[in-house]
Amino acid sequence: MSKTFDVAKIKKDFPLLERTVHDRPIIYLDSGASSLQPHVVIDAMSHYYATTHANVHRGVYSTAEEATILFERSRQVVGAFLGAVHPAEEIVFTKNTTESINLLANSWGATNLGPGDAVVLSIMEHHANIVPWQMLSARLGFEIRWITVDSEGFLILDDLDALLEGAKLLSITAMSNVLGTINPIRELAARAHAAGALIHVDGAQSVPHLGTNVVADDLDFLSFSGHKVLGPTGIGVLWGRRELLAAMPPFLGGGGMILDVKTDGFLAADPPQRFEAGTPPIAEAIGLSEAIRYIDTIGIDEIRSHELHLTTTALDALAGRFGDSLTVHGPGPGAHRGGVISFTLEGVHAHDMAQILDSVGVCVRPGHHCAKPLMRFLGVPATARASFGLYNDEHDIEVLLEGIDQAAKLFT
């Protein structure tokens, strides 16, 4: 079911792309930090507030019932997108990827980890998949082990079995938000399971840009954020295998996650409600499911091909134009990398690079990208990162190159 990918048409779906910056059309190359939202997503949320808003789950009147149906259907849409078997029980709405991982650490982790145990991470993790484990480890005394990367930016997996020995969890990103490396998740899941460990995948970068199938990959947990997948801020997802979620204690306490409360204690509800204390992100869930519907109409595989094409084009052009004065931190072009290009230009600090690019309308992000252990490992204090979305095209790459040119001229 091949679809024609019409990027000019797609651009029109994203109102932010109509704006100008310093009198130039905006060139948005920061989807790795947050994506833009199409009209349909913005409108779905406005429409919800204007016609249907009510608190969910506890009302019998019409709008409360409609809001509940829309909210619960969002679970189905998200679940289908991930290939989940039991979306109604397996999709937990959180506020972002970060909360999803904290939930996992504080619920599954706090009941399963202790002295003598180990959690395996990789050095390319985002702080969201590092700090929660460090906080928990400080409390419970388990060990954190690190998979490192080679000079091209690939995971070094030769000693993985040794790292996994006695480990209870491998928690790892499917795609680096700095290097663009796509990790071999299916292989990692198989090796984790062979060693008796579970696997949690940080899908913040992969879910929006690559196809995801939690069953085919045999995953145990997966997290991602709404705002990176064409959806709103204020919502994230934790998917977990039904049996695993069912055995986990609650994380946050409050309304909606209980069966009963007495002065001397409470009884927790079943998943996913058990993990959704308080009024959930209702409008945001509706916006997120609209975003996924939008992606479905275009096709995640078509999006991936388009972004891969852009990535290859950009990497080739950067190498051609700037040669050795520009370093790309991450693998060369190919199917093993996503549309995230971190680079440094000799003599120009990333912060200045981003500032100069802004003057020609180009949005890129400078800094450590919330991956300081990786930056230290690479010995690079900061990079500028250009990252693609389905709404980018070759012209965007040309303007990026024009901006880098200006930076090069200003600083030499």
């Binding site: 019998v60 019932e65 149906i69 259907r73 189905q76 069966l259």
Partner: protein, 157 residues
């Protein structure tokens, strides 16, 4: 409103005002289960005497709204005296009547498939059909049924 009259049919209100088989049987020997709707606080206690494969007595305790109470009352009247097998057939038909529509809360755009349901086999229980227009109330109607299933689940099979 027509839908509301569909929901609150006279027979339902009658069972609500004068619930049949109210109370609790001594357990043991009766099988006993408690059901609970955390959203609205409805509670039901079902006790059943089963002798020689036949439901010889059933009593319903607890409290709740007219739908949960009348559904429980009608259920008790409908299964009392039946063989466990026949009762289970009734449960299955009733549950399918409800579940087709319960699915509204769960499936995505696809509208639920209409399966032919043998309403005649349900007798006066068919009066609860009006509930399916009110997805949130379906859990009220099925509470006592699920609790009965639980109680019968304790039968040695």
């Amino acid at each position: 409103m027509a839908e509301l009259e569909e929901l609150y049919r006279e027979i339902i209100l009658d069972h609500y005002r004068s619930p049949r088989n109210k109370g609790e049987l001594a357990s043991p020997p009766a099988l006993r289960a408690e059901g609970f709707n955390p959203l609205c606080g409805d509670e039901v206690v079902v006790t059943v005497d089963v002798n020689g494969g036949v439901i010889t007595d059933i009593k319903i305790g607890g409290q709740g709204c007219s739908i949960s109470q009348s559904s429980a009352s009608m259920m008790s009247a409908s299964v009392k005296g039946k063989s466990v097998e026949d009762a289970q057939a009734t449960i299955a038909i009733f549950k399918s009547l409800m579940s087709v529509h319960e699915a509204q809360l769960e499936v995505s755009d696809a509208s639920p498939e209409e399966q032919p349901i043998d309403l005649k086999a349900l007798g006066e229980l068919a009066a609860l059909q009006g509930v399916v227009k009110f997805p949130v109330r379906i859990k009220c109607a099925t509470l006592s049924w699920n609790t009965l299933i639980q109680a019968l689940g304790d039968l040695p099979s």
